[in-house]
């Protein structure tokens, strides 16, 4: 009971701050709202008994990536907000969006959405530990994807230097 109340509050904050991200005129305000959204998502991870994911969410997203986003906003230095656009595009895209929304709701109501039940239930997470489960998957079944990740980071390092260093 208490937990679902808590969830509803956090969910409301998440949706609200998500809306603020795209409606704020000042990009810095958008970025701050995005941080709030990230924290709400981290809270969801905690409620789903995934504390490691919550920590990563805070460290990587709310920490490092937000720093980058704020840097880029300051780099671009957008002075005035763009003019208000009231073209037909807004109308047409909202009609299409509403149509897709109703279509989705209709299909969700009339067909099954059940997936296969996974191995990782609350009891298992309690007995083994969330981070250990992730680590075990990462270092055995997903060893190759794990090693490719480091190649991916290497390419990103080279790419960052090639794209943004003054002299290369």
């Amino acid at each position: 009971m208490l937990e679902s109340l808590f969830f509803l509050i956090v969910a409301a904050v998440a949706v609200l701050s998500g809306i603020l991200v795209i409606t704020c005129k000042n990009p810095i305000n958008s970025a701050l709202s995005l941080i709030l959204t990230f924290f709400c998502v981290a809270t969801f991870y905690v409620m789903l008994e995934a504390p490691f994911m919550a920590a990563v969410q805070v460290i990587v997203y709310a920490g490092a990536i937000m720093v980058l986003i704020v840097f880029v906003i300051m780099l671009l230095n957008i002075k005035t907000e763009t003019d208000k656009r009231t073209s037909h595009a807004v109308l047409i895209s909202s009609i299409i969006g509403l149509f897709v929304l109703f279509e989705t709701i209709y299909f969700l109501n009339r067909s099954s959405l059940t997936g296969s039940k996974g191995l990782m239930d609350s009891a298992m997470i309690k007995s083994v530990g969330h981070t250990e489960i992730i680590g075990k998957a990462l270092f055995t079944d997903f060893l190759l994807p794990f090693e490719i990740t480091s190649l991916l980071l290497l390419v990103a390092i080279v790419g960052a230097v090639v794209v943004s260093k003054r002299k290369i």
Binding site: T131, G135, E147, A156
Partner: protein, 118 residues
């Protein structure tokens, strides 16, 4: 289950209340006599020069980007360190390959001078 996180929640609530409380309280209690000098941004006591909204140099971007990449590397170290004993030598080798590949990237940016403030 969520009880374990109650202290964190309390901390968040208290810090928000503390921050807001200080602002609200000072706006009620403190005397307000604004003048042009008082409303200026504080810049180490000097006269402010130019606008505060300067364009950032792209150098910051490169540093922030490299920071994220090595931050992600560090994230992978947590589950590994928890399982270190169970994984044994094999786990050491796995992480060794992972770090060696990133070490190549580190040597690359170092020799390239990307860590220098040019």
């Amino acid at each position: 289950m969520l009880g374990a996180y109650l202290p964190i929640l309390l901390l968040v609530v208290i810090s928000i209340c503390f921050g807001l409380g200080a602002l609200v309280l000072s706006s009620f209690v403190g005397p307000k006599k604004p003048s042009k000098v008082k409303l200026q941004p504080y810049e180490c006591g000097c006269e402010p020069v130019g606008s505060a909204r300067e364009r950032f140099s792209i150098k910051f971007y490169l540093i922030a980007m490299l920071f994220i990449l090595f931050d992600i590397e560090a994230v992978f170290l947590y589950p590994w360190s928890i399982l270190f004993k169970k994984l044994g030598m094999f786990g050491l080798a796995e992480m060794g390959v992972f770090i060696a590949i990133l070490l190549v990237g580190y040597i690359y940016i170092w020799k390239k001078g990307a860590l220098e403030w040019e």
